[in-house]
Symmetry: C2
Subunit: 249 residues, 2 copies
Amino acid sequence: MTFVSARHLPYVGARCERCSLHSRCLTMGLEGAVLADFDAMLERPRPLKRGETLVHQGDRFANLYAVRSGSLKQVVAQGEVRDQVTHFYLPGELVGLDGIGGGDCPGNLVALESTYVCEFPFSRLEVLMQDSSALQNRLFHTMGEELRDHQRMMCLLSGRTADQRMASFLSGLSERFRLRGYSPTCFYLSMSRGDIGSYLGLAIETVSRVLGRFQQQQLITLEGRQVSLVALEKLRRIAEEGAGRHSGG
Amino acid sequence: MTFVSARHLPYVGARCERCSLHSRCLTMGLEGAVLADFDAMLERPRPLKRGETLVHQGDRFANLYAVRSGSLKQVVAQGEVRDQVTHFYLPGELVGLDGIGGGDCPGNLVALESTYVCEFPFSRLEVLMQDSSALQNRLFHTMGEELRDHQRMMCLLSGRTADQRMASFLSGLSERFRLRGYSPTCFYLSMSRGDIGSYLGLAIETVSRVLGRFQQQQLITLEGRQVSLVALEKLRRIAEEGAGRHSGG
DNA sequence: CGTCGTGTTGACAGGAGTCAATGTCAGTGG
DNA sequence: CCACTGACATTGACTCCTGTCAACACGACG
């Protein structure tokens, strides 16, 4: 807030092709003139501080974002219903797709730690897409991915036990970190227990207990928010176990 | 099955602009040459019988579909985990978006009753979109909608009681029927109690009990699969009640 | 030092799953 | 026409997972 006027980072000249996440970003596969246009279009706003809100629920939809570093959560408030965390976004992931085609943004986007994002004005993306079927494909591809992710999440929330949810959450994070070149077995949970509980549909106490149980069973080690997946394979097996809550029905 | 050779319906000359669902379909807002191209592209396969599968999980993704009449469910099988219903599709709704960008179809699509669909080869849609930003917008719009639907569903599955889920399910169906010109208070549930349970993350017995309770409370009347929403407003209120399963934590 | 946010742990209760028995209905075949 | 079958649905009894309430620990911060 003290640097309101300095909206852009020093590296104004930054270029997508030099970005370490280029190969995982929306720009994947773009080259030459299209990539240059893309570069020219995007903004790199100042970093968000922990707890700062990038987008407010109900804001007019205008931009997509990519996480450069740090992480975000999406929080949706529905009427009198308690707020709910619907998504966590890690570096290299595209944020805001669920606002497309709706007048406004469906949830708050809140930084979980110091976070850098790139900002893509969607209207300009639309223009670029008319000239670049590669970019169009890329965006459709990403939205399809997100639909499938949501589907998996719905399966998880519906009829799986607390242990299975946590195991799935941890191994899912592991996979996402691995894909982006971070350690798949040792990482920092930037979200609180409350966030995890909200996301997984569990009470905060249950989150705490399950994590404690996993530690006892030597599946993980835990120091505050730093977690090591000691037995990732076993976690995966728990997550996929046939016996959920409706196994026999 | 007796008409295998007659893959197309008699009305081969059918045109989108004459379809009663035109204004709700992917074709909304298209006109002139683009609409003609669209018409030329799409197929109208023979109707599906109840229980017949339109698409098998793992099939190579190739088409989108629109429901002309009848209804479909999407069923996802994950490893040893019990099958799960992830979606119901009503007339006028677009089917198959979640296959975009993935090599193959993420679930079985099964007819819940006699069902007619239109079939859009996606590769040709992609070509058409290059010329028609209206069509492109329309498809993005629809995918965004679906993302937001999934998000609502995740909120529902995570931390709401059985009563709230059923109330939400019924009022949601009501709204979808209303939007398409059917009665919002009196309709036929083409899906079984088992399907509903799987979709809502409830045991089949719970579905039955909640429906029974709603009937006792004069919120609905029920005769087999025919349902009347007697007190739609009250149902809505139940669905939105603040006190879910994590209301106080 | 007190307070607040966060996290852990224990005791308890309730909602919803599981198991089991029974009812209903459509389709089939004798 | 009726018995038989299987799918679907309802209802009751019981269990247990997980949410709720409450107490407490810990670190950050004013």
